[in-house]
C-alpha cells in the first residue's frame, strides 16, 4: 500500500429522518431570526439614497420604469418586481424593503443546500447561520435595492451549476439558463458569476458529464444574448447616467475592506482598522487547515473561486479601465465566502472547531450589535432625522439645498414642508440627461439663483462627489453660518443667514 494511497470517503449527505427534521427546524429558526432582525431593526431605519432612487424610479408606469432604469447604471428586473410588489402591498419604504427581506431569508436555506451539496450538512448549516447573522446581509437584505435578489439568484445558480456538475440532467440546464437570465437582469455583476463558472469549467471540464461543452456554450450564448435587447435600449438612450456616483480607483485596502465588511459588517474607521490590521491571523487560519486527508474537492475550489474572482476581477477592471468597485455590487461573493469560511472551520480538529465556531458567532454577533448601535457606522444615512430637523426649523421663506444633487430623492421623500427644495449644482430632473457636474465658475451664479429670494438657506451635504467642501466654503465665505448638525457619517445640515429683512406682518 502506498503511504499516500488512502482516501477519505465523501461526507455523507443523506440525513436520517430525525436529523433531517431537526435541520429543518434549525433552518426555520435561522430564517425567523433573520426576518426578526430585518423587520424589527433594519426595515425601520431611515430611507437611504439608493432606496429613494428605487422608489422614484418605480413611481412611473412600466415603460417609464424601464426608461429611468436604463438611464441609471442598473438592469430592470428588481425594479419591475418592486413596482408590482408596491402595487400589491403599498408604496412606503418599509413595505418596499420587505421584498428584499423575502429574498434574503430565502437565501439562507439555499446556502444550506449548496453547502450540503458541496461539503456536508454541518458546513451548510454553519454557513446558513453565518449568513443569517451577517451584518452585511442584514443591511442589504433589508434595503429596497436589488442586492438581496442578486445574492439569492447567485446561490440558486450555483446550486444548479453544481447539480449539472454532479448529475447533468436536462431540467437543470433549462433552469440554469433561466436563472442566469434573471441574474443578468438583476445586476450586471452577475456576469462575474457566469465568468467564474466558465473558468471553473475550463479547469474541471473532465469532471462534468460528457458532451457538456456544447450545452454550456449554448447556455452561455442564450444567457448573455438575452441581455442584448436591454443593452440596445440603453445604447439607444445614449448611455446616459443620471445618478452614477463618483467612485475612486480602489486600493489594496479596499479588497480587505470588502471581505471585512462581508464577514464583520460596517464598522467605524477605528474598529475597521483593528479588524483588517489583524490580517496575519488569516495565515494562522490557513495553517490550521493543514489536516490529514482533508482534501479539496472540485466543489470547494468552485466556491473559493466565486468568493475570490469577482472581487479580484472588479478590482482589476476598476484599476485598469473604470472604477466600479463597491462591496454591495460584489455581494455575489458573499454566500460563497461564508461557505468557504464554514468549510475551513470544519477542517479543524473537532475541539478547535467548536471553539472557533463559538468565537466566530460571538464576534460577528457583537459586531452586528455595534453596527446597529453605533451612530458612526459608515453606511448609515439618516435622512429621516436630518429632514425632520430641517422641517421643524425651516420656514416658508427658506430654501433647502441638497448636495450632491441626486440626494434630493431621499430628502423629498421625507420633506413635506413649505420651503423650496432645490439642488446644487442645479439639476432639472425632468429634463433628459445626466446629473450636471460641478463647475467652479458657476458656483457664484448658481448659489445666487438658489438663495437670492430667501431668508435662510439649509444646505444638506451628503454623498460627497468631490465638491461638497468647495460649496460649503463658498457659503461660509458669503453667508453667516447659524447652525450645523451632523446626522450620520457624511450627512450634515448647515443653516445660513441669507437676508436680514424685517418680518412683514400681513393683516
Amino acid at each position: 500500500m502506498s503511504v499516500h494511497s488512502r482516501r477519505v470517503p465523501e461526507p455523507s449527505s443523506s440525513p436520517t429522518g430525525h436529523s433531517s427534521l431537526l435541520i429543518g427546524w434549525v433552518l426555520v429558526g435561522l430564517m425567523g431570526l433573520a426576518t426578526l432582525l430585518s423587520v424589527l431593526i433594519f426595515a425601520h431605519t431611515s430611507l437611504r439614497l439608493d432606496e429613494a432612487q428605487s422608489l422614484f424610479q418605480i413611481s412611473r408606469d412600466v415603460p417609464g420604469v424601464l426608461y429611468l432604469v436604463a438611464q441609471d447604471v442598473h438592469v430592470p428586473l428588481y425594479h419591475l418586481l418592486l413596482k408590482f410588489w408596491t402595487i400589491l402591498f403599498g408604496d412606503d419604504i418599509a413595505t418596499a424593503r420587505y421584498l428584499s427581506v423575502v429574498f434574503f431569508v430565502a437565501t439562507i436555506p439555499a446556502v444550506y443546500y449548496l453547502g450540503k451539496l458541496i461539503f456536508s450538512r454541518r458546513v451548510g448549516l454553519f454557513a446558513a447561520l453565518l449568513l443569517a447573522i451577517s451584518p452585511f446581509m442584514l443591511w442589504y437584505g433589508a434595503e429596497a435595492r436589488m442586492y438581496a435578489l442578486l445574492a439569492f439568484l447567485t446561490v440558486i445558480h450555483q446550486i444548479l451549476f453544481v447539480q449539472i456538475f454532479k448529475i447533468g440532467r436536462g431540467r437543470y440546464w433549462v433552469l440554469y439558463v433561466v436563472v442566469a437570465i434573471l441574474g443578468l437582469y438583476t445586476h450586471y455583476f452577475f456576469g462575474f458569476v457566469l465568468l467564474t463558472e466558465a473558468i471553473f469549467y475550463l479547469f474541471f471540464r473532465k469532471h462534468f458529464p460528457v458532451r457538456s461543452l456544447p450545452k454550456f456554450i449554448v447556455a452561455g450564448v442564450i444567457s448573455v444574448g438575452s441581455l442584448v435587447p436591454w443593452l440596445g435600449y440603453v445604447y439607444k438612450l445614449g448611455l446616459a447616467s443620471n445618478t452614477q456616483p463618483y467612485l475612486g480607483i480602489p486600493s489594496s485596502g479596499d479588497i480587505f475592506n470588502t471581505y471585512a465588511q462581508f464577514l464583520f459588517g460596517f464598522q467605524s474607521d477605528g474598529l475597521n482598522t483593528v479588524i483588517i490590521s489583524l490580517w496575519p491571523i488569516l495565515v494562522l487560519a490557513a495553517f490550521f487547515t493543514l489536516q490529514r486527508k482533508k482534501q479539496t474537492s472540485p466543489g470547494s475550489v468552485f466556491v473559493i473561486m466565486l468568493a475570490v474572482l469577482p472581487v479580484l476581477g472588479a478590482f482589476v477592471v476598476s484599476v485598469l479601465i473604470k472604477p466600479f468597485f463597491l462591496s454591495r455590487y460584489l455581494i455575489v461573493s458573499l454566500p460563497s465566502l461564508v461557505l468557504v469560511f464554514a468549510w475551513i472551520i470544519s477542517i479543524y480538529p473537532p475541539r478547535v472547531q467548536r471553539v472557533v465556531q463559538l468565537v466566530v458567532i460571538i464576534l460577528i454577533s457583537g459586531l452586528l450589535v455595534i453596527q446597529i448601535a453605533n451612530p458612526n457606522t459608515p453606511v448609515k444615512e439618516d435622512y429621516q432625522q436630518a429632514v425632520a430637523y430641517v422641517s421643524s426649523q425651516s420656514k416658508a421663506q427658506d430654501v433647502i439645498i441638497a448636495t450632491a444633487p441626486f440626494t434630493i430623492y431621499p430628502i423629498e421623500y421625507y420633506y413635506h414642508g413649505p420651503a423650496k427644495l432645490t439642488t446644487q449644482p442645479i439639476w432639472d430632473r425632468f429634463a433628459s440627461g445626466s446629473v450636471p457636474g460641478f463647475d467652479a465658475t458657476q458656483l457664484a451664479t448658481q448659489t445666487q439663483t438658489n438663495v437670492s429670494d430667501y431668508r435662510n438657506a439649509w444646505l444638506i451635504l451628503s454623498y460627497d462627489q468631490g465638491y461638497n467642501q468647495a460649496i460649503k466654503d463658498y457659503y461660509d465665505n458669503h453667508f453667516q453660518q447659524l447652525t450645523h448638525r451632523q446626522f450620520s457619517p457624511g450627512l450634515t445640515v448647515y443653516e445660513y443667514k441669507i437676508r436680514y429683512d424685517p418680518t412683514v406682518s400681513i393683516k
Binding site: M1, S2, V3, H4, S5, F203, S251, S252, G253, I255, F256, T273, V274, I276, S277, L278, W279, P280, I281, L282, V283, L284, A286, F287, F288, T289, L290, Q291, R292, K293, K294, Q295, T296
Partner: protein, 504 residues
C-alpha cells in the same frame, strides 16, 4: 517495464506557486520602500532562502515520467544486515523474525552487533538472538565509523552481491525483497530505497509529530526525487548493490549522515537510484522528546556538514537535477535560522519600532496572502493532503536545534553518531523548549511596550498578529515537550549530555 506512478496531479499550481513566489520576492526586494537597512537585509536573505526552498520543492515534485526496469524473476543472493547497537532484545528479536519471514529464495541474515564497541551492557543479547534463530552475528571488536563502520565491517565479512539494511527496530514485510530486488535487473541501479513508516505514530504527541513530518518527505518529495534520479538512502529499508558501494569505498564514515553522503558519492559514480513508494517495513518513531531532539540534531548536523564539506554544487559527476536535489535537502536544515530571523522581526518592532519595510500593511497582505495560500495548497496537493499543522509546527519549532547544529559546525566541533533511542526516555523534557517559552513571554512584554509607545496602530496590531502566528505554531511542539514520559530507562540523559555524547 514498470511505470512509476506520480500522484502529483497538476503543474498549474506548481507554476502558480513559483510565479507568486518570484513576484512576491521581486516586490519585496525592488518595489517596497526600505525601512531599517539591516532588517531589510535579513528579510531579503530569508526571502532568498524561501524562494530557493520553493524552487527546490517544485523541482522535487514536478511530475516526471521516469520508467524503471523491473523483473520479479531477478532474485540473486542478498545479505540482510540488521544493525544493532544495544537496542532492547525484544525489539531486535521482532525485527529478526520479520526478516526471516521474508519470502525470498536466497537471503542470508546477519546481525551487525555494535553493542560491544558502543559499550552497551546488553551487547551479548544480539549474539544470543542470532544463535537462537540460527543466523550469523557479526560483533565488532574494533570501534570506529559508527553505523557506517559497522556496515563496512560486515561488508568485509560477507560476499553477497546485494545488501539489504534494516535498523534494529524496522520490521520488513514478507514481500520486501521481492518488491525491491526486481529493480536491480537494471545494471545501472546502485541502490533502492523504500519509505520509513512509524507504526507507533499514534502513541503520543512526539511520535505523531515525528511521523507527520516524515510523511511529506517519504511521500511527494522522495517520489519526486526518484523522478530525477536523486533519491538517496535513508539508513534503513534499503538495498544496495555491493559493487556500487565498494566503488565509493563503502559507507562513508566521514559524516554522521552516512547514508546521505554515501548516496551522493554513489550518484557521482553515475549509478542510478530507485525509490519505491510503498511501505515495505514498519519502524518506531522516537517515543520521547529528548530522543526526537537528538535525532533531529543528528540529521541537521549531518546534512549541513554535507553542504559545508561536500557541497553538491561542486561535486563532479552529478547531474544538474541531482545537485539541486541534494542541496535542497541539505539546506532544509538552514530553515531554523530563517524561522528564527522572521520570528524576531515582530519583537524588534515592539521594542525598537524598527521594521524592514515601510509599506502599508494592507499592501503587504495583498502580495503575501495569495502567495502563502497557494504555497500551503500546493504542499497539500502534492503530498496527497497528508501534511498537517503539527508537522508544520515541528518544522518551524525546530529552529533551536538547527541553530545549535549550525553553531557546532561553525565552532568546528566533531560529531559522532548517536543511535536514536528505541525506548522512551523517562521524564519531562520541557526545558528543551525554553527558547519558545522565552519568545512567548517576550511577545507579551513587547506588545505592551509597543502599544505604550505607539498605541494600537495598524503596525503594532499586524506585528502582534504575526507574533501570534509563531506562538500558535510553537504550541504543539511545546505540548510534546511537556508530555511526561513514564517508561523508565536507566540511561536517561539530558540534552547537553546527549550532544556532548554526539561530539565524543
Amino acid at each position: 517495464m514498470r511505470r512509476v506512478p506520480h500522484a502529483v496531479p497538476t503543474r498549474v499550481f506548481l507554476l502558480l506557486n513559483i510565479s507568486l513566489a518570484i513576484a512576491y520576492f521581486i516586490c519585496i526586494a525592488c518595489f517596497f520602500p526600505i525601512g531599517n537597512p539591516i532588517l531589510f537585509g535579513v528579510l531579503i536573505v530569508a526571502e532568498v532562502f524561501h524562494l530557493w526552498q520553493a524552487l527546490g520543492y517544485v523541482h522535487s515534485v514536478w511530475p516526471r515520467r521516469r520508467l524503471h526496469r523491473f523483473n520479479r524473476q531477478f532474485q540473486p543472493p542478498v545479505a540482510v544486515y540488521i544493525t544493532v547497537t544495544g537496542e532492547p532484545a525484544d525489539i531486535v528479536e521482532a525485527t529478526v523474525r520479520g526478516v526471516l519471514a521474508m519470502d525470498y529464495p536466497e537471503a542470508h541474515v546477519y546481525i551487525l552487533n555494535d553493542g560491544l564497541v558502543a559499550g552497551r551492557e546488553n551487547w551479548r543479547e544480539a549474539e544470543a538472538i542470532a544463535e537462537q534463530y540460527g543466523i550469523r552475528c557479526l560483533t565488532r571488536t574494533v570501534p570506529g565509523g559508527a553505523k557506517a563502520g559497522n556496515i563496512n565491517h560486515a561488508l568485509s565479512q560477507t560476499d553477497e552481491p546485494f545488501i539489504a539494511v534494516f535498523d534494529a527496530d524496522h520490521i520488513p514485510k514478507p514481500h520486501f525483497l521481492r518488491a525491491m530486488m526486481g529493480y536491480f535487473v537494471d545494471p545501472q541501479v546502485g541502490f533502492v530505497q523504500s519509505p520509513q513508516f512509524y507504526k507507533n505514530y499514534a502513541q503520543n504527541l512526539v511520535t505523531g509529530g515525528a511521523w507527520e513530518q516524515q510523511e511529506l518527505f517519504f511521500g511527494a518529495i522522495c517520489r519526486g526525487k526518484d523522478g530525477s534520479n536523486s533519491a538517496f538512502m535513508c539508513g534503513t529499508n534499503m538495498i544496495i548493490r555491493r559493487s556500487a558501494l565498494t566503488q565509493v569505498g563503502g559507507m562513508s564514515e566521514c559524516s554522521i549522515a552516512e547514508d546521505f553522503l554515501t548516496s551522493l558519492l554513489i550518484h557521482q559514480k553515475k549509478w542510478a537510484s530507485v525509490y519505491v513508494s510503498e511501505v515495505l517495513a514498519e519502524g518506531l518513531a522516537p517515543e520521547d522528546f529528548l530522543s526526537y531532539y537528538k535525532q533531529q540534531f543528528r540529521w541537521t548536523r549531518g546534512s549541513l556538514e554535507v553542504i559545508f564539506k561536500y557541497n553538491p554544487l561542486f561535486r563532479r559527476g552529478l547531474t544538474v537535477s541531482q545537485r539541486i536535489q541534494y542541496l535542497s535537502s541539505a539546506s532544509f536544515y538552514l530553515s531554523g535560522l530563517i524561522v528564527f530571523a522572521n520570528a524576531l522581526l515582530p519583537l524588534i518592532y515592539f521594542f525598537t519600532g524598527l521594521e524592514p519595510l515601510t509599506i502599508g500593511t494592507m499592501t503587504l497582505a495583498l502580495f503575501f496572502l495569495p502567495y502563502i495560500f497557494v504555497v500551503l495548497y500546493t504542499v497539500q496537493l502534492t503530498s496527497g493532503f497528508s501534511y498537517t499543522f503539527r508537522a508544520l509546527s515541528f518544522s518551524l519549532s525546530a529552529f533551536p536545534i538547527h541553530l545549535q547544529a549550525i553553531w557546532q559546525i561553525i565552532r568546528g566541533k566533531k560529531s559522532g553518531f548517536v543511535v536514536t533511542s528505541k525506548r522512551a526516555v523517562a521524564g519531562n523534557h520541557g526545558y528543551l523548549v525554553a527558547p519558545h517559552i522565552v519568545y512567548i513571554v517576550l511577545v507579551g512584554i513587547g506588545v505592551l511596550v509597543g502599544a505604550l509607545r505607539e498605541g494600537l496602530n495598524p503596525s503594532i496590531l499586524s506585528n502582534a498578529a504575526w507574533a501570534l502566528v509563531y506562538v500558535a505554531s510553537f504550541v504543539p511542539f511545546i505540548s510534546a515537550a511537556f508530555q511526561k514520559t513514564t517508561v523508565p530507562r536507566e540511561d536517561t540523559v539530558g540534552v547537553t549530555e546527549a550532544i556532548e555524547e554526539a561530539h565524543s
